[in-house]
């Protein structure tokens, strides 16, 4: 059990902690995997560089689950971080302990959003393409986003102002013009109407439902309209995302083959054995499942039956959100089904992360921005980060 994979002494008052999906030249980046144990990158994440240029100092790296596809980090090769029963998210622990003003993370499968919801923290997953992914461990490139975690929305606004913007080193990076709306001084059109996704709340715990109600009350009190909406298409995000994420993951982690860097098996006599034994020995169970699933979905037999369908589903979901945003500024939905996960939960269901992402997959698959605050999640229109964070600040003020 480990919160930090590395700590760096710094006297600076402005500290940033990065999770172990963010590459840095200051210490190794292992992505929670034995495969990359001790891996030193030759270059640094663009988002981290921008924060450093703005005066932040890196004070350490926090552990992640293997390639960040699990619930909270429990599949790290260092072992799960727990208090005995409850699974803890290392990055959230560092922020709660005030060790850094902000945490820089890679949101692959929603673990940072679940961590924010379960620890009364605030997180922002910006619009896809507004923050460079240069220097992050690639897993599910079509949807993963550099994200931020902090104890208040105000800090996130400051940090987002620094890291958002075009980057020539990332071919999916949007133009400076489009990224400009994330900047501090850009004009904002406030959140006035929120769609409450009633069916998404059906399977959540009483406690999450209460948090959502409290959140709605505060919004209403502040003149924001909250309307209950029945929406049935968006829940398909989960299955589609699991297909896309696993397929891309399978391809992206293929490079870890024992030839160039990272773990290499001692036990081989030919190339096939080098590949097979390296990967068998260094990868964990959840990752192996995702690799096999992803590989299967991309096979010639299944591509059009499975993968292509998932791509089409993605487009239908994007359209469903667009329809909703014709009359609403944001959508309120859970970030997770319960306020904590225990080690027993995982034992009972190894693939819980691929079920709990029912709540995080919609923003991942569409690239829409998502803010988690007050234990719930607001998903907004593209480039509406500031309006979402303004709403989070209203909540913060009123709930104190």
């Amino acid at each position: 059990m480990k919160i930090y994979t590395a700590k760096i002494d710094t006297a600076s008052a402005l500290k940033v902690v990065a999770d172990d999906m963010i590459l840095t030249t200051a210490c190794p980046t292992a992505a929670g995997s034995k495969m990359l144990d001790g891996y030193m990158s030759l270059f640094e994440s663009e988002a981290l560089t921008r924060l450093k240029n703005a005066g932040f100092e890196l004070c350490g790296k926090t552990d992640v689950g293997e390639f960040a596809i699990d619930l909270l980090g429990e599949t790290s090769y260092n072992g799960a971080c727990t208090d005995g029963e409850k699974i803890l998210n290392p990055t959230a622990e560092a922020v709660k302990a005030n060790e850094a003003a902000i945490a820089l993370t890679l949101d692959v499968n929603g673990s940072v959003r679940r961590a924010a919801a379960q620890n009364d923290l605030v997180s922002i997953k910006p619009t896809y393409g507004t923050v460079s992914r240069y220097g992050t461990i690639p897993v599910a490139c079509s949807g993963e986003t550099v994200s931020l975690l902090a104890s208040s929305a105000g800090v996130l606004k400051e940090a987002l102002d620094i890291i958002a913007g075009h980057d020539d080193k990332d071919g999916t990076s949007l133009s400076e013009e489009l990224c400009a709306s994330l900047k501090k001084d850009a004009p904002t059109s406030p959140v006035k109407r929120v769609a409450y996704f009633a069916n998404m709340f059906e399977g959540v715990s009483e406690c999450i439902a209460q948090k959502a109600n409290a959140f709605c009350e505060i919004l209403k009190k502040n003149g924001i309209e909250v309307v209950e909406v029945e929406e049935s298409v968006i829940a398909a995000s989960r299955v589609a995302w699991n297909i896309l994420m696993s397929a891309e993951l399978c391809n992206n982690v293929s490079r870890y083959d024992g030839v160039k860097y990272g773990y290499r098996t001692q036990n081989f006599t030919n190339l096939d054995e080098l590949y097979t034994n390296t990967r068998t020995e260094a990868f964990g169970e959840l990752l192996k499942t995702a690799i096999l699933f992803g590989s299967e979905t991309l096979s010639t037999d299944n591509y059009f039956k499975v993968y292509d369908k998932a791509l089409r589903t993605r487009r239908i979901i994007v359209e469903a959100f667009a329809k909703i945003f014709e009359s609403f500024d944001a959508v309120l939905m859970p970030a997770c089904s319960k306020t904590e996960y225990t080690t027993q939960d995982i034992e009972a269901n190894k693939y819980l992360a691929f079920e709990e992402n029912l709540y995080t997959a919609p923003a991942s698959i569409t690239g829409l921005p998502a803010v988690v605050t007050g234990g719930v999640q607001l998903v907004g229109k593209a480039f509406s980060e500031k309006a979402l964070l303004d709403a989070a600040e209203i909540y913060e003020k009123e709930s104190k």
């Binding site: 590459l23 030759l42 240069y134 992050t136 490139c141 397929a247 030839v259 860097y261 991309l298 791509l311």
Partner: protein
């Protein structure tokens, strides 16, 4: 029974861009140390993202247009997954779903006449690295210099039917792509490689036979031998049942002159293609498309016809110049300045091309400024510089691109001055020193005058307009 061979080619051509397809490393590593031109991106290290080199798309479009293809205005990149140590990211970025160019046509000419070969598609992709086997140490090293060097793969329809046609087709591709300056296409350098798909069927049949593929052929002669061998093997199998033909990939051993089935393990595999989410679709708008179209050269046969019909060159001369776009450009510029196509062609063929041959340079390597060549021609035709000294100036122009012919002639004392007095003096001396030749000439031996002429020219170190010398000499001899 008579049989016909059905051949389709997949030709890989390395594009001559300065940098690699997704990073800024040099794409040219000929003669470099292993792993000299590599970076974390082309080594497949996690966290680097591909950024498309626009020049590669330019060249891909040019190649497509030269081969009469339709250009896909939205062209996308896909990942092709397989494991091999020379493929650092364990996937190759290529174009599977929407290649840059489709539905082309290439005309070839063989002893049997002209024929059109259809092009199915041209797609852009990245090359893989190279494994270097060290027999002494019994180890294998990997060199990533070639990783991510841009390639196009030109896929033909199965329209070829003989080794002769294949050779004509490859020559034509090479010629057209060199004309567009997008590729070197030199099999010996590995900048052109070829996969041959071949089957045999009874003549006139419309059913295709069992197809075999020979990969990575890298010399025309080997390809021709392999086609002949495979054709004979197929016919033998069909007629005599010597073996059962199966669809497979075969390796051509050019030394043994035989093809061998590769182990299925080397060829089987599902490449699991899917769109690369890190490379946005490339959208070719009208400005881009028209801009590229405007840079395309005339086709070789258009140049040839123009040289014969408009410039008045002989077919032989037109053929010689039209074989390389660099020669064409130099020639046309020289014509524009000198206003004499005949003189320009003469200089091109007897001086420029000869010099390239002597320097063991290909015609495409010509960098001589055609306008300056035109100026040089004007100096000679205007009797300012002798032909012989003109050649000297050309050599200087080859060695140093900044040389200006007129300035060089002045600085090196190569200008024919109006030196009638000097000429008369020299002529007088020569006549006095060779009374025999003078007498011979006077007794009717015309050749004797040439001997005197040569002696005078030698004394004058070539620095005299030949016609002027001839006039003065004739006059003086007759007086003597």
């Amino acid at each position: 029974m008579r049989y016909e061979t059905v051949i389709g080619l997949e030709v890989h051509v390395e594009l001559a861009t300065k940098s690699k397809i997704f990073c800024s490393c040099s794409a040219h590593s000929y003669g470099s140390e292993p792993n000299e031109h590599v970076c974390p991106a082309c080594c497949g290290m996690p966290g680097m993202l591909p950024v498309v080199n626009k020049r590669v798309v330019d060249y891909g479009m040019k190649a497509g247009l030269m081969l009469n293809c339709d250009i896909n205005r939205t062209t996308t990149f896909d990942k092709k997954s397989y494991y091999y140590p020379d493929l650092p990211a364990a996937y190759q970025t290529t174009q599977w779903f929407a290649p840059v160019a489709v539905n082309g046509l290439v005309e070839i000419e063989t002893s049997k006449g002209k024929k059109n070969i259809r092009i199915k598609q041209i797609h852009m992709e990245e090359d893989a690295g190279k494994l270097v086997h060290d027999i002494m140490e019994d180890t294998t090293h990997v060199d990533f210099n070639r990783t991510s060097v841009p390639l196009i793969e030109i896929v033909s329809q199965p329209d070829l039917s003989s080794a002769e046609e294949v050779e004509a087709y490859l020559d034509r591709l090479k010629n057209l792509l060199r004309y567009a300056k997008v590729a070197e296409c030199e099999m010996a350098h590995g900048t052109m490689r070829c996969d041959v798909n071949l089957s045999v069927r009874p003549e006139g049949s419309d059913k295709l036979g069992v197809r075999t593929e020979m990969k990575n052929m890298n010399s025309i002669e080997a390809i021709k031998r392999a086609i002949d061998y495979e054709t004979a093997r197929h016919i033998d199998a069909i007629e005599n049942g010597t073996e059962v033909l199966v669809q497979e990939t075969r390796r051509w051993d050019d030394i043994k002159g035989k093809s061998y089935a590769m182990r299925t393990k080397e060829t089987a595999g599902d490449y699991r293609y899917f769109p690369d989410p890190n490379v946005m679709p490339v959208i070719i708008d009208d400005d881009w498309y028209e801009g590229i179209k405007a840079t395309l050269p005339e086709f070789p046969e258009v140049k040839r016809a123009k040289y014969i019909n408009e410039y008045g060159l002989s077919e032989y001369d037109a053929d010689r110049i039209a074989q390389s776009i660099a020669l064409c450009e130099c020639f046309e510029d020289a014509c524009a300045v000198s206003k004499s196509a005949k003189d320009a062609a003469n200089w091109m063929i007897s001086d420029v091309m000869k010099t390239l041959n002597n320097k063991q340079m290909t015609y495409d390597m010509l960098t001589l400024n055609g306008k300056k060549l035109g100026e040089l021609i004007l100096l000679v035709t205007g009797n300012k510089v002798s032909r012989a000294n003109g050649k000297k100036i050309l050599v200087a122009m080859f060695d140093d691109e900044t040389v200006n012919p007129e300035q060089y002639a002045e600085e090196n004392d190569l200008i024919l001055s109006d030196n009638t007095d000097l000429v008369k003096k020299v002529v007088g001396e020569v006549i006095a020193s060779d009374p025999k030749s003078v007498a011979d000439y006077k007794s009717g031996k015309e050749k004797a005058l040439m001997a005197l002429f040569g002696k005078c020219m030698k004394e004058l170190k070539g620095n005299c307009d030949p016609q002027t010398l001839r006039n003065i000499l004739t006059e003086e001899v007759n007086k003597a």
